[in-house]
Symmetry: C2
Subunit: 510 residues, 2 copies
C-alpha cells in the first residue's frame, strides 16, 4: 500500500480550489468597480464639458458685447454728425472707407460671437446633457448584463465544486470496498491451510475410537469455509458497484472541468469585451463626435465670416490712393477749386484796337523784347528742370522710406512655451527698433529738403508761366501780317530808345 | 464824336475787375479753409483710430484673461488629481484626449489674444501716432507753400490792375490831345477864310489914298495866321506823344492780361493739385497702409494659429474610437481583465486515471449522451444565430440614429441684416427641432429592445459554450483507441439503463 504523503488529501484539493475561486470572484468584483469608475469618469467628463461651454458661452457673449459697444461708440459719432451730406462726401475718401470697414468688422465679429455663444448654449450643451443621460442609462443596463454573466460563471464554478466532491466521495467508497474485499480473500486462504495440518496428526491411534472424532471435525471445517466464501462474494459485489460509481463521478468531474474552463475563457475573452463596447460604449463616441463637430462647425463658420471681413478691409487698404482721393476732394468742393472766368480785354472809351500793336515805331522794340524773353526763358527752364529733378529724387527717397514693408508680425505668434517670451517678442516688433527712430529723423530731414526744393520749383514755374505767356503773345503777333493801323506818322526813333531800355529793365525785374 | 453811353466808363471797368478779383480772393480763402478742414478730419480720424485700437486692445486683453481663467479652472482640476499615473492612463482614452485638446486650444487662444492686444498697443497705435504727427507737420508746411502761391497770384492780379489803369490814363490823354489838335485845325481854317473876303471889298476906291491902308491890313493878317499854325504844330506833337504812350500802355495791358490768365490757369490746374498730392498727402496713404497691414497681419496670424488648434481637435474627434478605447482600458487594468489559470484535474487519493473512461459498461452510455448533446447544440446554435441577427440589426439601427450628421451650423451665420434674426436662426438649430425629441424616444425604445436581445444572445452563448465543451471532450475520447483499463468485469447492463436515463435528464436541464 502507498503512503498518504504521496498524494493530495481531499482537504488540500478543496482548499486549493477555494482559493482559486476566491481570486476569480475578487477579479469579477474589480471588473464591476472598474466599469463603475469609467462610468463616473464619463459622467464627470460630460459635466466638465457642459460647465466648460457654459462658461465659454458667457465669455463669448461678454466679448461680443464689448465689441458691439466699441463699434457703436464710433458709429454713433459719425451718425451724430449734423451734416449727413458732408459725412457721405467724406466716405468716398479711401482712408475713411478703411475706417468704416474696420467698424463694420467689429460689428460683424460681435454678431458672430453672439451666435457662437448661442450655439454653445442651445445646441452643444444640450447634446452633452443627452450623451450624459444616455451613458448613465446604458451603464446601468450594462451592469445588469454583466452581473448576469458573472452569476452564470459562478454557477459553473459551484457545479465544478460539487461534481469534484462527488468524485472524491465515490472514489473513497470504492477504495474502502476494495480493501475489505482483499481482507476477505486473506481469511479464506487462512482457513484452507488449517484443515490440511489436522489430517496429518491422526494416523498412530486404534481404528474404532478415532473414527467418530474425524467425522465431527470434518463437519466443523466445511461450515466455516462456506461462511468465508459468502462474505467474499458480498464484498466483491460491493466493490464492483462502488468502482463503477467512482468512474462515472470522475467522468462527470472531467466533463465539468472542460465546461468550466470553456465558460471562464468565454467570459474573459468574449463576454467582457462585448459588454464594454456593445453595451457601455453604445453610441457614446458617436454622440460625442457629433457634439464636438458642432463645436468645430461653429468655430469654422466664425473663422470664415471673420476672414471675409478681413478680406474686405485688405481690399480697401490696397485701394488707399492719394491721387483718386485728390480727385474726389476737388469734385466734392467743385465751386472752391474750379478755375474762374478768363480776364478779357476791356477797351477804354471805345478804343477800337484790342490787339497787340506791332507796327513801327513799337515793332522793333517788341522784336527785341521777344528775343530777350526767349533767351531768359530757356535759361529759367533749364534751371527749373534741375530743381525739379532734385525735388523728384527727394520725393522718391521719401516714398521709399514710407513704403518700407515692416508690417509682418508673424514672429510675435511664434512662442517658445513660456508666456514671458510673448512680451519680449512683441515689444521687439516696432517701436523699440532703433532703426525706426533713425528712420524717422532721416525722414523729416529729407522732408525739409524736399519742401525747400518744392517751393523753389513752384516759384520758377510761376515766373516761367508769366514770361512764356508774354513771349508767346509777342511771337504770335509779330508773326502775323501787320494789318493793325496805329494811325501813327513820325517821331518814333526818340521814343524807341527809351522804351526799349525800360522794357529791358522790366524783363530783368520779372 | 460817339456818345459816352456806347462804351464802358473807367469806373465801370474798374468795378467789374474788382468784383472778379474779389471772387477769386474769396475762392482762395475757401481753398485754404478746405485744406484746414481736411487736415482736421485727418487728425480726427487718426485720433479715432488710436482710441479704437486702445479700446480694442483692452477688450482683447480682457477676453484673453477670461479664456486663461477658463482653461486654468479645468487644468487645475486634473492637476489636483492625486494619482498622476491614473490621470496619465485616462489620457490615452480618445474622449479625454479631445477634452485636453479643447483646453489647450483655449490656452492657445488666450495667448494669441494677449499677443494681439500687445501688437495693438506697441505697434499699431504708435504707427498712427506717427502718421498723425507727420500729417500735422506736412499740412503746416503745405499751407505755407499754398499761401506763397496765392500771394504770387494776387501780385499778378494787382499788376494787371495797375497796367490797366495806366492804359486808361494814357488813352484818356491821347483822346484829349487829339481833340485839342482838331480845335487848332478849325481856327486855322477860319483865319484863312477871313483874309480872302477883305481883298474883294477894296477894289472901287482912288489909287493914292487906298494904297497905305492895304499894306497895314496885310501885316496884321500874316501874324495871326502864324500864331495859329504854331499852336497847331504844338498840339500835333502832343497828340503824337500821347497816342504812342497809349499804344504802349495798351500793349502792356494786353501782355499782362495774357500773363495773368496763364498764371491763374496754372494755379488752379497745376499748383492746387500738386499742393494736395505732393505736399499735404506726402506719405500719408502709404503710412496708413502700413499701419493697417500690421493690423491685418496680426489678425491673420491669430486666425492661422487658431485654425491649427482646431485642426488638432478635429483630428482627435476623428480618432474617437470605442474599440481602441476598450483595448486601452483592458491593458490599463490588465490584472483585472486577464483570464485566470485553467482548472486542472485533481486525482483523488492517487487515482491513476486522469482521462475520461469510455470502456464498457459506460461506453455506450457516453456514445448516446454525445449524440444527444450534438443534436441539442445544433438546435441551440440555430436559435442563437437568429437572436444574434436581430440583435445586430437593432444595433445597426442605433448606430444610424447616433451617427446622423446634424452638426452643421452654417445657417446660424447667414444673417439677414437685422440682429433679431440671429436669435431665431440659432434657436432653430438643435433643441427646438421636434425631430430630435422623436428621435430620442425612438432611440431609447430601440435601445431597450437591443438589450433584451443582447441578454438572450449571451445566455444562449453561455449554454452553448458549456455543452460544446462537454460534447467535444466526449467525441475526442470516444474517437480514441480504448487503451484505458477500468479493471471491470461483469454486471454493467443494470447500471447502464438507469445512468443513461439520469444523464439524459442532465442534458435536458442544462
Amino acid at each position: 500500500m502507498t503512503s498518504p504523503a504521496k498524494f493530495k488529501k481531499d482537504k488540500e484539493i478543496i482548499a486549493e480550489y477555494d482559493t482559486q475561486v476566491k481570486e476569480i470572484r475578487a477579479q469579477l468584483t474589480e471588473q464591476m468597480k472598474c466599469l463603475d469608475q469609467q462610468c463616473e469618469l464619463r459622467v464627470q467628463l460630460l459635466q466638465d464639458l457642459q460647465d466648460f461651454f457654459r462658461k465659454k458661452a458667457e465669455i463669448e457673449m461678454d466679448y461680443s458685447r464689448n465689441l458691439e459697444k466699441l463699434a457703436e461708440r464710433f458709429l454713433a459719432k459719425t451718425r451724430s454728425t449734423k451734416d449727413q451730406q458732408f459725412k457721405k462726401d467724406q466716405n468716398v475718401l479711401s482712408p475713411v472707407n478703411c475706417w468704416n470697414l474696420l467698424l463694420n468688422q467689429v460689428k460683424r465679429e460681435s454678431r458672430d460671437h453672439t451666435t457662437l455663444s448661442d450655439i454653445y448654449l442651445n445646441n452643444i450643451i444640450p447634446r452633452f446633457v443627452q450623451v450624459s443621460e444616455d451613458s448613465g442609462r446604458l451603464f446601468k443596463k450594462s451592469k445588469e448584463v454583466g452581473q448576469q454573466l458573472q452569476d452564470d460563471l459562478m454557477k459553473v464554478l459551484n457545479e465544478l465544486y460539487s461534481v469534484m466532491k462527488t468524485y472524491h466521495m465515490y472514489n473513497a467508497d470504492s477504495i474502502s470496498a476494495q480493501s475489505k474485499l482483499k481482507e476477505a480473500e486473506k481469511q479464506e486462504e487462512k482457513q484452507i491451510g488449517k484443515s490440511v495440518k489436522q489430517e496429518d496428526r491422526q494416523t498412530p491411534r486404534s481404528p474404532d475410537s478415532t473414527a467418530n472424532v474425524r467425522i465431527e471435525e470434518k463437519h466443523v471445517r466445511r461450515s466455516s469455509v462456506k461462511k468465508i466464501e459468502k462474505m467474499k462474494e458480498k464484498r466483491q459485489a460491493k466493490y464492483t458497484e462502488n468502482k463503477l460509481k467512482a468512474i462515472k463521478a470522475r467522468n462527470e468531474y472531467l466533463l465539468a472541468l472542460e465546461a468550466t474552463n470553456a465558460s471562464v475563457f468565454k467570459y474573459y475573452i468574449h463576454d467582457l469585451s462585448d459588454l464594454i463596447d456593445q453595451c457601455c460604449d453604445l453610441g457614446y463616441h458617436a454622440s460625442l463626435n457629433r457634439a464636438l463637430r458642432t463645436f468645430l462647425s461653429a468655430e469654422l463658420n466664425l473663422e470664415q465670416s471673420k476672414h471675409e471681413g478681413l478680406d474686405a478691409i485688405e481690399n480697401a487698404v490696397e485701394n488707399l490712393d492719394a491721387t483718386s482721393d485728390k480727385q474726389r476732394l476737388m469734385e466734392m468742393y467743385n465751386n472752391v477749386f474750379c478755375p474762374p472766368m478768363k480776364f478779357e480785354f476791356q477797351p477804354h472809351m471805345g478804343d477800337m484796337a484790342s490787339q497787340l500793336c506791332a507796327q513801327q515805331p513799337v515793332q522793333s522794340e517788341l522784336v527785341q523784347r521777344c528775343q530777350q524773353l526767349q533767351s531768359r526763358l530757356s535759361t529759367l527752364k533749364i534751371e527749373n528742370e534741375e530743381v525739379k529733378k532734385t525735388m523728384e529724387a527727394t520725393l522718391q527717397t521719401i516714398q521709399d522710406i514710407v513704403t518700407v514693408e515692416d508690417f509682418d508680425v508673424s514672429d510675435c505668434f511664434q512662442y517658445s512655451n513660456s508666456m514671458e517670451s510673448v512680451k519680449s517678442t512683441v515689444s521687439e516688433t516696432f517701436m523699440s527698433k532703433p532703426s525706426i527712430a533713425k528712420r524717422r529723423a532721416n525722414q523729416q530731414e529729407t522732408e525739409q529738403f524736399y519742401f525747400t526744393k518744392m517751393k523753389e520749383y513752384l516759384e520758377g514755374r510761376n515766373l516761367i508761366t508769366k514770361l512764356q505767356a508774354k513771349h508767346d503773345l509777342l511771337q504770335k503777333t509779330l508773326g502775323e501780317s501787320q494789318r493793325t493801323d496805329c494811325s501813327l506818322a513820325r517821331k518814333t526813333v526818340f521814343y524807341m530808345s527809351f522804351t526799349s531800355l525800360e522794357n529791358f529793365k522790366e524783363v530783368l525785374q520779372e
